[in-house]
Each structure stands twice: as structure tokens, then as C-alpha cells.
Symmetry: C2
Subunit: 222 residues, 2 copies
DNA sequence: CCCGTGAAGATTGTCAACAATCCGGAGATA
DNA sequence: TATCTCCGGATTGTTGACAATCTTCACGGG
């Protein structure tokens, strides 16, 4: 039994982790809209578990900041007002600029750029096909890829939450029209700044991109 | 009842939140050293609660990344190897540079600078008195103040965890000697860069400070 | 008509018991 | 001697029941 046929260590997950993931997905997709109370009994019934594991999952989401807890009253999906959205994008900028710099100074810049370009291309194709859903997905995939390539577990964890919140915002305004070409161009500029290894340019492009995205959002909200 | 005598809305906290805070403190101070298993029964007994609330607190810490969960085996205080420490400082750099920029561009720069200068002065005094404990505390207070002044709930939340991890590292190497003057000088330079409103300088100073701190740590670890 | 009072219902917070899983060592077997 | 098997003890995972709290709504007094 000493041969190693490339097996991976079995990594099972605790039930609370599983439930957490599903709830997060629900919040993200808008199945659980902002402000809704998360009833323990009904959710537990839906998941087919007792309230114990479910409550543990809830506490995770509270810690993550996706859920707000009111003592003896219940848990509610966090609502995002304009100030919160600004803060969200401020933090995204912090994380993603750091990620970009890590990627640019990393060992495997060439491969990283290849993957980022692929993501940018996917966005361009979706824009050309006028498939807004695909465009949005490719957009998220780009930013997730950027942070993944940085190879930082902490940046990744924080960013994961931020992306859920971002998706929350966009889901709430589904159907709003954004100019696809602008978005595609902004992402390309980010990639090229990384390729050029120009730290200042990277930061500037990401900042501008976030500012644009934020403006689009705020404009659509009013 | 329309007069507003400056009362604050009562905000009580759930038991799990309270326990979480205490456990976090324990991890930070080294009462619960890295790697130790967190026994549910003994901890529950110590806190005088049942395992329910305690488990909820644990899940929070898992989500925060301070505790690692092994299924059916237990929960362990996360250990930080060199790669983790590097990642920690990378992320701190990301958060604190963003905070510094927010402070520099904020409405109340003057007041903010005042408070930061006060923190820097406290450090200098501790260094002059050769009180290493006070110096370390003042150091932490400076960085916490910096992020608080940014007024960003997200940056704050993330930073809180990072500071716990930082303290974990330092507690583990208690007794090691670092040159106080260097540390004091680095912090002063950060404040002055913010005062000058020079974004690039701010980023550079914080980056260098983090790099220095990281080097000190890694050197001490080996 | 308005406001304070009180009880019913529902929801969350907590607990102690039960089930499942894992780790260690004693003993048997080759 | 080395290895396999099995059992005991301990720890975690899960559950259902009980206690505490909050909300709602009807009722009665001013």
C-alpha cells in the first residue's frame, strides 16, 4: 500500500460548513433578499437538520458580516445602503490592488497573465454576443481569478465575502443596463498594467475601475 | 419623550459573541497557544455554559481563520508557519495602506493626524522609558487607530483578525529584543506621509514598515 | 379616540442526553 | 517480532425538549 496513485486526502466538510455555503449562495443569488429574517425552524426543516448545526452556520455568516443578529429577535440578511456599498468597493479596491501587485511580482507572471487574458477575452466575447448574464459572470470570474492568482489565503477569504456582497447589489438591480464595452476595456487595461509591471498604473486602473463600477451602481440605485 | 438626552441604544450581546471575544483574547495573549486542541467540554465548563453556545463561538473563530476544524477530531488553534506570517503581513499592508489613504483623503484629516501623532508620541515615550511591553502596546494602538480613523467597517473587521494573528506571533517570541528607535521612526514617517498627503509615500512607508517588521519576526523565528 | 395593560403565540436561547466517530493499547496470529 | 484485530475510553456531532424573550393583538380605562 505504499504506491501513491495520486490520491488526494479526503476532505470532508462539517455540516455547518455545508449549510453556510448554501446560505451564502442563497444570499448572493437573491433567493434570500436583503432584510429577510432567517427563521431557524423553517430553514432547519428545509435543510433536513436540527437547529444546532444550522445555528452554527448562522454564526459563521454573522462573523462574515453577511447576516446581522438581533438578540432574542432573530437573524436578518444584511442590507446595504449607499455608504455600505461605498465601503464595499473601498475594501475591494484594497484587496484587489494588493492581489494585482502580488501577481505582478510573483514567480509565475507569464502564466498568470495568460489566465487573466483568457478571462478578459471571455468578457469581450460575452459583450460581443450581448449576453449580459455571461458578461456579469465573466466579470466576477476575472476578479476571482485575479485574487486567486495572488495565492494569498487571507486575501482570498476576505475577497470571497466581498464578492458575495457585490453580487447581492447587482442581483438587486437585475435588468439595469450597463455599457459592456466600457467594462471590457477597463479590465483589459488592468491586465496590461500588470503585464507592464507598473505598480502605480495597476493601482490607478483598478481604482478607476472600482470607481466606475461604484458610480454605475449608485446611479442605478437612485 | 421627544427630548434626546444622548442615550445610546442598548446593545446587548449574544453569549456566543461574548465567548468568541474571550477566546480570541486567549488566542491573542498566548493563553491558548497555537496548535492546542480546544476541548468543548472543558471550555464549556470554564465559561459556565453548555456546549451549544460554545460551539457557535467556535464556528465564528473558524470562519475568522483563527481556528482550524478537523472533522470528528476537534478544533485546534491555527499555527502560523513562515508562509502564513508572510501572508499575514501582505494582507496587513493591503488593509493599512488603504486605511491610510482613506484617512489622508477624509474630511477630518487634521483631527486624525492629531490622534495618530499622539499614538506615535506614546511609542516614543515607551521607547525612551525602555518599557518594551508598553512599546508593543502603543505599536498596536497606533495601527488600530489608523484603521479606525478610516471609518470603514470592512477594513476594521478584517484588520481586527489580522492584529490578533500578529499578536499571536509576537507573544510566541516574547522576550526577543527589537531596536525600539527603528520602530518609532518608522511610525513617525508614516504619519508624516499622511500629513503630506503623498499617496505614493504613504504606501511606500507602510510597505517598508511591514517589510521591516516581517524581517524582524522571521529573523527571530529562526 | 388614545394610551397603557395583559395574555397568547411565536421565535430565539439554552441545555442535557444520545449517537457516531476516532484514537490508543491489549491480545491473538503468523 | 511484526502485524492485524478488536475493544474501551474519550471526544465530537446531533437531536429534541425546555426556558426565556419578544411581538401582536384584544381589552379596558381615561
Amino acid at each position: 500500500m505504499s504506491v501513491a496513485p495520486g490520491f488526494q486526502p479526503v476532505h470532508r466538510e462539517s455540516t455547518s460548513a455545508l449549510i453556510t455555503r448554501q446560505l451564502r449562495e442563497g444570499i448572493m443569488r437573491g433567493t434570500l433578499p436583503a432584510g429577510t429574517q432567517l427563521s431557524e425552524v423553517s430553514l432547519a426543516a428545509e435543510f433536513g437538520v436540527s437547529r444546532g448545526p444550522l445555528r452554527e452556520a448562522m454564526q459563521r455568516l454573522v462573523q462574515e458580516g453577511l447576516v446581522r443578529s438581533e438578540l432574542n429577535r432573530g437573524l436578518f440578511v444584511k442590507e446595504l445602503d449607499e455608504a455600505e456599498i461605498r465601503d464595499l468597493y473601498l475594501t475591494r479596491t484594497a484587496i484587489e490592488t494588493a492581489a494585482a501587485r502580488a501577481v505582478a511580482h510573483g514567480e509565475t507572471v507569464t502564466q498568470s497573465l495568460e489566465r487573466l487574458r483568457a478571462r478578459a477575452t471571455a468578457m469581450a466575447e460575452a459583450a460581443a454576443a450581448e449576453d449580459l448574464q455571461a458578461l456579469a459572470d465573466a466579470d466576477f470570474a476575472f476578479h476571482e481569478e485575479l485574487v486567486n492568482l495572488a495565492g494569498s489565503p487571507r486575501l482570498h477569504r476576505v475577497h470571497e465575502t466581498l464578492m458575495v456582497e457585490t453580487r447581492m447589489c447587482l442581483t438587486a438591480l437585475q435588468g439595469t443596463y450597463f455599457d459592456p464595452e466600457d467594462q471590457v476595456a477597463e479590465h483589459s487595461r488592468i491586465v496590461e498594467a500588470i503585464a507592464a509591471g507598473d505598480d502605480a498604473a495597476m493601482v490607478r486602473e483598478i481604482e478607476e475601475h472600482m470607481q466606475e463600477a461604484l458610480d454605475r451602481l449608485v446611479r442605478a440605485t437612485r
